[in-house]
């Protein structure tokens, strides 16, 4: 398959319907292709039923669709087994479930390593765990280039370390994490590695086996799927050992007044009616992604990032957060315009159809490390093109006029 961003763009009804829209907020949420919308609508109009407990054909069909969705996730992650895939409502829920389940066996003094680059969703759950269980947090700082300072791993990962919870890529700087270094530091002390893949998943299929990590979390809505669904993948042997977090229908064995036994994973972690239609939609999104030519898409996304970085580097009132090169980064670029507040800037840009997010992007510790409160962020997906960058650059000029 050969790759043409304009052809891809036409597959997205929201973008196709508004040629003047320059959607550059993909790190917050990606748009939804027609194929996924069709899968959602088809499910609701032909296959809607509750799963797992029905033996009439409609319910059997819904259950099979739901379990097939698990298999699509397995393929996307190249996980060893589909029963390592837990459906959640999103990355945040996935990380919190893991923090509660894994945390249940921690003792006071056990250590968890996180980093300053984390999204609040992979930061605050560990602070809450610290309060709940008395575990200690060690926070890897940023290096001079704005990447996580992995040179400090050896020092941060002590014999008491039980877990490293780290992002695959920063949702602000776009910097990718060298997970091989993280995994080997963890292995050296017998610790586990949980990866926040919320950003990485949008940019192509993954390989959790090759990465060698123990758990991986991502959201449907950021990789061209529906809202309200996400994935917690956990290596089977670890997943089997974890206790349930939320309880309810579908995750029990036998329930009596005195005591209750729990179902095997993944059911044990899917209390209540799961997001069935959303899982089916996510599967459609992932299958769609699996069909795309990722080498070409990555090259295209990288070219866009490089062009924007170069343009911004040529403006003397712009400060970029983090790395300025495209090596080992996602096409996410955060910056500030001197003397202009990020929300004023995104307001003016939005006026011209250029959709950028301003604020702290749920990464206050990272912003604090850069000495700022907030930034504006342009994040590219496979359907963006040079016209989007043109519009952004024109928008910056307009903002300078309007806001100064």
């Amino acid at each position: 398959m050969s790759f043409d961003p304009a052809a891809l763009r036409r597959q997205f009804p929201l973008l196709a319907g508004d040629p003047e829209l320059h959607y550059l907020d993909n790190a917050a949420t990606a748009q939804l292709p027609q194929a996924v919308l069709d899968a959602l609508v088809a499910h609701e109009t032909h296959a809607r039923a509750n799963v797992q407990r029905g033996s009439y054909p409609l319910a059997e069909g819904a259950t099979e669709a739901y379990e097939r969705a698990r298999e699509s996730v397995r393929r996307f992650l190249n996980a060893g087994r589909a029963d390592e895939v837990v459906f959640t409502s999103g990355t945040t829920a996935a990380i919190n479930v893991f923090a509660h389940a894994f945390g249940a066996r921690l003792a006071a003094g056990d250590e968890i390593v996180i980093t300053r680059a984390e999204h609040h969703s992979n930061f605050v759950p560990w602070q809450l765990l610290r309060e709940r269980r008395g575990a200690a947090l060690r926070v890897l700082p940023l290096a001079g280039d704005g990447r996580i300072d992995l040179a400090r791993l050896a020092e941060a990962v002590t014999a008491r370390c039980r877990l490293i919870a780290i992002t695959h890529a920063s949702n602000v700087t776009g910097a990718l994490t060298d997970l091989a270094a993280v995994v080997s530091a963890a292995r050296a002390v017998g610790a586990r590695v949980l990866v926040d893949g919320a950003q990485a998943a949008q940019h192509g299929p993954l390989d959790v086996q090759r990465l060698g990590v123990d758990a991986y979390a991502f959201s449907g809505h950021k990789c061209f799927g529906p809202n309200g669904v996400g994935v917690l993948w956990v290596r089977r042997e670890l997943l089997e050992s974890l206790p349930p977090v939320f309880a309810g229908g579908g995750m029990v064995g036998r329930v009596s007044l005195e005591e209750t036994t729990f179902a095997d994973a993944p059911a044990r972690f899917e209390a209540g009616t799961p997001p069935i239609a959303q899982a089916v939609g996510l599967a459609a999104a992932l299958e769609w992604m699996l069909s795309l030519p990722w080498a070409e898409i990555r090259a295209h996304e990288e070219r866009l990032a490089r062009r924007l970085l170069a343009a911004l580097a040529g403006m003397d009132d712009v400060a970029i957060l983090g790395p300025r090169e495209t090596r080992e980064r996602l096409p996410i670029v955060a910056f500030n315009l001197r003397g202009i507040h990020s929300h004023d800037l995104t307001q003016v840009l939005g006026d011209g159809g250029v959709c950028l997010r301003g604020g702290h992007h749920c990464a206050q510790p990272l912003h604090a490390a850069f000495g700022v409160e907030a930034s504006v962020r342009a994040s590219f997906a496979l359907y963006n093109d040079d016209a989007d960058i043109d519009a952004l650059i024109a928008g910056l000029a307009a903002a300078r006029r309007t806001l100064r």
């Binding site: 407990r53 029905g54 033996s55 059997e60 259950t63 379990e67 029990v252 036998r254 036994t261």
Partner: protein, 141 residues
């Protein structure tokens, strides 16, 4: 695939025969397994001699498929080794999931071929086999 195909006479008479129903006086191992989806329960007891099933007995609260499967076990399992039961369970799973032929020597299991079309019922057929495996594990440890 209609329910009529599922509930043919062979299944019904297997279930009605309930071969192996009961209790053992002195089982070497026992196991109780639940199907969490429907509350079905299989209790299985076994005696081992030279690594082979010398005697077994089961009590099943379950559907026709589950009772019929337990009845096949009651008829065929005595004399089999734990390894044979393990292989057999894998073959049966393959038969259900991938329409493979029934395991050799256990021809009665071909009665379950139509279950292939009903993934939600695989567990009903497999539960007695899993209970037997668990009882054999218990007997050996």
């Amino acid at each position: 695939m209609s329910a009529k195909d599922l509930y043919h006479e062979a299944i019904k008479s297997l279930a009605a025969a309930d071969t192996g129903h009961g209790r053992l006086e002195a089982p070497d191992g026992r196991a109780t397994l639940d199907n969490p989806l429907c509350g079905d329960r299989v209790e299985m007891e076994a005696q081992l001699a030279q690594g082979r099933v010398a005697a077994l007995a089961h009590r099943v609260k379950g559907c026709l498929l589950c009772r019929a499967a337990a009845s096949v076990i009651g008829k065929r399992a005595p004399g089999a080794s734990a390894e044979e039961i393990e292989r057999l369970t894998a073959d049966l799973t393959d038969m259900l999931e991938r329409q493979r032929p029934p395991p050799a020597g256990w021809e009665e299991l071909s009665a379950f071929a139509p279950v292939h079309a009903h993934r939600s019922r695989y567990g009903c057929v497999l539960l007695p086999f899993k209970a037997l495996l668990a009882a054999l594990r218990a007997a050996r440890s």
